[in-house]
Structures are given as structure tokens and as C-alpha cells.
């Protein structure tokens, strides 16, 4: 509590978050980047914003390094688990979601329509 660190410049952090948010919306909304560039820049800007919040607003910078380790390790493990899922999610052998069903013409109100195709 009585940590003697000097107060970080919270306004500057707020400006940083604001500028990154505007940049994110610009990249995501205006589509001036190719798809891969858009994904990479959006993800890195989101992670930068999350890091700003954790480091300054949540005071991780002013805690002992051990706490930051305790916090970050499970998140890295989660990220690895997510990456492990990627090949399965994108492989051709995956369970395909049903294609959007074509509306049968004038077929509304017919219950149990799965019988006659």
C-alpha cells in the first residue's frame, strides 16, 4: 500500500489507449490493409492496449516481478492451447458446419419438413 513509487502519468496512458482505439477502428472499419496485415495489426494493437491497462492501471509495473510472472504464465499457456486447436479447426477433415439451408419456396408452416427432401 505505502509503495513509494511515483504516480504514473495516468492521463498519458488514457491518451495511448484512445489513440490505439481510434487506430484499431480505422484499420478494422476502413479496410485499407490486406487481410493478413489487418489481423496482425489489430491483434498487436489489442495486446498493446491490454498490456497498457495491466502495467499502469493495474500497477503490475510497481509490484514485485513474481506477481507479474504468476499472472502471465497461465495466459501464455492458454495462448498455446489455443494455437494447438488451430490445425484442427482449419483442417479439411474437421466436422463441417451445415451449409446455410436454402429456404424452400413457399414452404412455411409445414411442420416436420425433414421427411420429404
Amino acid at each position: 500500500m505505502s509503495d513509494d513509487h511515483k504516480e504514473p502519468n495516468y492521463m498519458a496512458v488514457w491518451w495511448g489507449l484512445l489513440v490505439l482505439t481510434i487506430a484499431e477502428v480505422a484499420v478494422g472499419y476502413l479496410h485499407f490493409l490486406p487481410k493478413a496485415g489487418m489481423v496482425i495489426s489489430l491483434v498487436s494493437m489489442a495486446l498493446a492496449k491490454a498490456a497498457l491497462v495491466a502495467i499502469y492501471f493495474m500497477h503490475l509495473k510497481f509490484e514485485k516481478r513474481t506477481l507479474a510472472t504468476v499472472v502471465i504464465v497461465p495466459l501464455i499457456l492458454s495462448a498455446i492451447l489455443f494455437v494447438i486447436l488451430v490445425p484442427d479447426a482449419t483442417s479439411p477433415d474437421r466436422i463441417q458446419p451445415p451449409a446455410p439451408a436454402a429456404e424452400p419456396a413457399g414452404g412455411h408452416g409445414e411442420g416436420g419438413g425433414g421427411e420429404h427432401k
Partner: protein, 199 residues
């Protein structure tokens, strides 16, 4: 084991290796486990989305400018939350009350805009039967529930703070812990906003 065991001083201090209060430590543990819940939900969303060639462009479904405004509201409420903690640390009672109220207001505005957004989307046919609807409602709903809990948490702290209970550098701990929760909710929204709305 050691033959020198008897020489250990009786007053061995049992100090936390992290040098933080137990309240703060437990809040951090809760936040890490909560982050894992969100990681699971985000992974579910990622797998469903990457595996579905018919996934619609989110911008054709969601109102990006409105949600960007909501993101801005939540970032501002994080700033008012650190102002509240600073006021508590410096013994500024009226300031603490004022900034806590501003933070609660930010959370309430966020929830109001989200309620409007949900109503609009539901009346326009987005539902749990579509993968984009299911992942959207589950992710933003779980997050919105956190915001609601945060507003209730802030309300409780604000009423408990009357009478100067949390004023001063040694007593402002509960306000800092509330802030940890609130900033975490902001942090999660940053990720949800990017992955669900912008990507």
C-alpha cells in the same frame, strides 16, 4: 534435517514473497482464473469462426461506431477509477466519492448502450441458433455480466467509503482492489471488441 535447526531464531518472519496484502493477492488469483474462463470462450469463438467458411463479416451485423463509443466510455471509466484510488490514497474523501460515482456512471452507460445494442440485434433476427449470434451473445453477455457485477461492487464500496473508512495510504487497499477488478473488465473488453467486432 540440519543439525543447526536449533539456531533458527524464534522470530522468523513469514513474509509474503509478493509483498502485497492477501486481499490483493486473492483478487489477482481470481482475475487470472477469470481470464482463463474468457480465454476458453475466446478459443471456442476462434475455432468456430476459423472452421466456418460461411462466417459473415461482423461489420455487416454489428454497429462498429456505437461499440467504439462504448469502448471509449469504458476506457474513461478506467481513468476515473485510478483517480478514485489516487483520491483515497491522498485522504481526499469528497474526491473519492466523486470519482467512484463517475466510474459507476461509466459502467451504467456502457450497460445501457449494450442493452440498446442487444435489443436492436435481437429484433433484427440475430439469435443463438447462428454461430455468430451464439458466440456474440455468450462473449458480450459474459463480459456485460462482469460490468454489472463491477457496478454493484463499486456501489458497495462507495457506500462503505462514507465516513472516511478508506482514506489514507494505509487504508486505501480496498479501493485499489476494486480498481483491479474494474481495469480487468476494461482489459477483457479491449480483447472482445477487437476479436468479435473488428476482426
Amino acid at each position: 534435517m540440519s543439525s543447526h535447526a536449533a539456531t533458527v531464531p524464534a522470530s522468523t518472519s513469514i513474509e509474503s514473497p509478493l509483498r502485497i496484502t492477501s486481499g490483493k493477492l486473492i483478487m489477482w488469483f481470481f482475475l487470472v482464473s477469470d481470464a482463463m474462463s474468457f480465454a476458453g470462450l475466446l478459443a471456442m469463438y476462434g475455432v468456430l469462426r476459423m472452421g466456418d467458411p460461411h462466417w459473415p463479416n461482423p461489420q455487416s451485423k454489428f454497429d462498429i461506431p456505437l461499440t467504439a463509443l462504448n469502448t471509449f466510455v469504458l476506457i474513461c471509466s478506467s481513468l476515473t477509477m485510478v483517480k478514485a484510488f489516487t483520491a483515497a490514497k491522498h485522504g481526499d474523501g469528497p474526491g473519492l466519492q466523486k470519482w467512484l460515482l463517475a466510474t459507476m456512471g461509466g459502467g451504467a452507460i456502457f450497460l445501457g448502450i449494450q442493452a440498446y445494442e442487444w435489443t436492436h440485434l435481437i429484433t433484427h433476427g440475430l439469435s443463438l441458433h447462428q454461430p455468430i449470434g451464439a458466440t456474440f451473445f455468450i462473449l458480450t453477455g459474459f463480459h456485460g455480466f462482469h460490468v454489472l457485477s463491477g457496478v454493484i461492487y463499486l456501489t458497495i464500496i462507495r457506500f462503505a467509503a462514507r465516513g472516511g473508512r478508506y482514506l489514507g495510504p494505509d487504508k486505501s487497499g480496498p479501493v485499489e482492489i476494486t480498481g483491479l477488478y474494474w481495469h480487468f473488465v476494461d482489459l477483457i473488453w479491449i480483447l472482445v471488441f477487437t476479436f468479435v467486432y473488428l476482426l
